[in-house]
């Protein structure tokens, strides 16, 4: 009797072929993107999204073509940060989805511009409840469809803003494929550093490049006295075994929609972007 592996195809369902086709569609869509960099942490609340947005701006200031994919479907923030929360994705004449752009020319694809903030991000289902069983699969499939449907065009950098969760970081590495490099965001808190260490360990088990990390919230910028004040107790720099791209203070101005970083913060962000761009170039396969 024939075994599973003796039979070519699946009799007409074509599930495997469709999954392969999905991946090919994503590859075609991203074919003119030079560097894909996922910005993760594992820890929530460390400022990944704001930092992703600011790094994109800093890369843009270097004259580079940049877009952001907001992969945090349940806590999307990139549309608001970029000021494009009201901009839908629009199909062009070729059927590809045109992405909105921020005032400084950064392409942004975020569920935040597709689902109003007054609504939860829901996916339709033929079963009542039990979304814990299928929701993660659905979210990855949705992201895959989005990646393949958007007309990204020629880009130097596509930054992918990841949701929290060390194990999710690993899943996104598998999902995005080995050509996607990672940058992790930590803070000077021991709690955050411990979780980022888990993400570093998780990524060590993948073929993906971990370019480095950024330590965020290293003090806060006080506009009143124009200096950086301490936010966390003094501690030694962490040893994640990867390059540190910079230590950036919390800048309250960036918490405002459309806020602009103070000159000192912006200089630090420019340094982060320069080191990130250099690392991406050097380690590009």
């Amino acid at each position: 009797m024939k075994s599973y592996y003796d039979i070519v195809g699946d009799g007409g369902s074509k599930i495997v072929e469709q999954v392969v086709e999905q991946r090919e569609r994503i590859a075609r869509s991203l074919s003119a993107v030079r560097h894909r960099v996922a910005v993760g942490s594992g820890k929530g609340g460390v400022g990944k999204s704001t930092l992703t947005s600011e790094i994109a701006r800093a890369l843009r200031r270097r004259g580079l073509g940049v877009a952001i994919l907001d992969a945090d479907l349940n806590g999307p923030s990139q549309a608001r940060l970029a000021g494009v929360a009201a901009a839908p994705l629009v199909p062009g004449p070729d059927g590809g989805l045109c992405m909105s752009r921020s005032a400084d020319g950064i392409g942004v694809v975020s569920v935040g511009s597709l689902v109003p903030e007054s609504q939860a991000v829901e996916f339709d289902s033929v079963v009542g409840g039990d979304s814990h069983i299928w929701r993660a699969t659905r979210e990855f499939a949705f992201l895959g469809q989005l990646l393949g449907a958007v007309r990204w065009g020629e880009l130097d950098f596509l930054l992918i803003d990841l949701p929290p969760g060390a194990e999710r970081t690993y899943q996104y590495a598998e999902f995005l494929g080995p050509d996607t490099a990672f940058v992790l965001v930590s803070t000077p808190s021991e709690l955050a550093r411990g979780i980022v260490s888990r993400s570093v360990a998780a990524l060590r088990g993948t073929p993906n490049r971990l370019l480095g990390y950024v330590e965020n919230m290293c003090g806060y910028y006080c506009a009143g006295c124009d200096e950086v004040r301490p936010l966390f107790p003094e501690s030694e720099a962490p040893d994640f075994g990867v390059a540190c791209f910079g230590r950036v203070p919390f800048d309250p101005e960036l918490a405002r929609s459309g806020g602009t970083a103070a000159p000192g913060t912006r200089d630090l962000l420019d340094g982060v972007a320069a080191r990130l761009a250099s690392a991406a170039e050097q380690e590009s396969p």
Partner: protein
């Protein structure tokens, strides 16, 4: 998943699909002896496979108008969200390549733009106007 006709040692071929309240009926037949059987899914099985964003039955005629997995899910979604805002065939054609999971969110956003702009329907001019309004390439 593959199915084998044991007496003939031949892979079964998908012949027809039907959907009913979240359950999918997939009819397979043996190309040699003609023996047929149907695989009936429960809604959870439908949902799990449908969450992959794939369609089952690419080679098989569907007994209903909807595709078996994403189609069923889409049908339920449409019943709650679609208020019948009209699209011209040309505008609909631009949506043809937009994946099923993404399409409802894209349509909702464009229809809001059209309504806010006082348009009675979505046509290609509205789509191009939206592109221009939001500074898209």
């Amino acid at each position: 998943m593959k199915f084998l006709c044991v007496p003939c040692d031949r892979p079964m071929k998908l012949e027809e699909t039907r959907s009913d309240r979240g359950s999918i009926a997939l009819t397979y037949g043996c190309p040699d002896c003609g023996y047929e059987f149907a695989m009936l899914t429960n809604p959870m099985e439908t949902q799990v496979v449908g969450s992959l964003g794939v369609k089952i039955g690419g080679d098989a005629p569907s007994a209903g108008a909807k595709c078996p997995f994403t189609g069923v899910v889409q049908e339920l979604n449409d019943s709650g969200a679609d208020d019948g805002f009209p699209w011209t065939p040309a505008a609909e054609a631009r949506m043809a390549n937009v994946p099923e999971f993404v399409k409802p969110m894209v349509k909702t956003g464009i229809e809001k733009f059209a309504r806010d702009g006082g348009h009675a329907r979505v046509d290609e001019q509205v789509l191009d106007k939206a592109k221009g309004f939001f500074g898209m390439d």
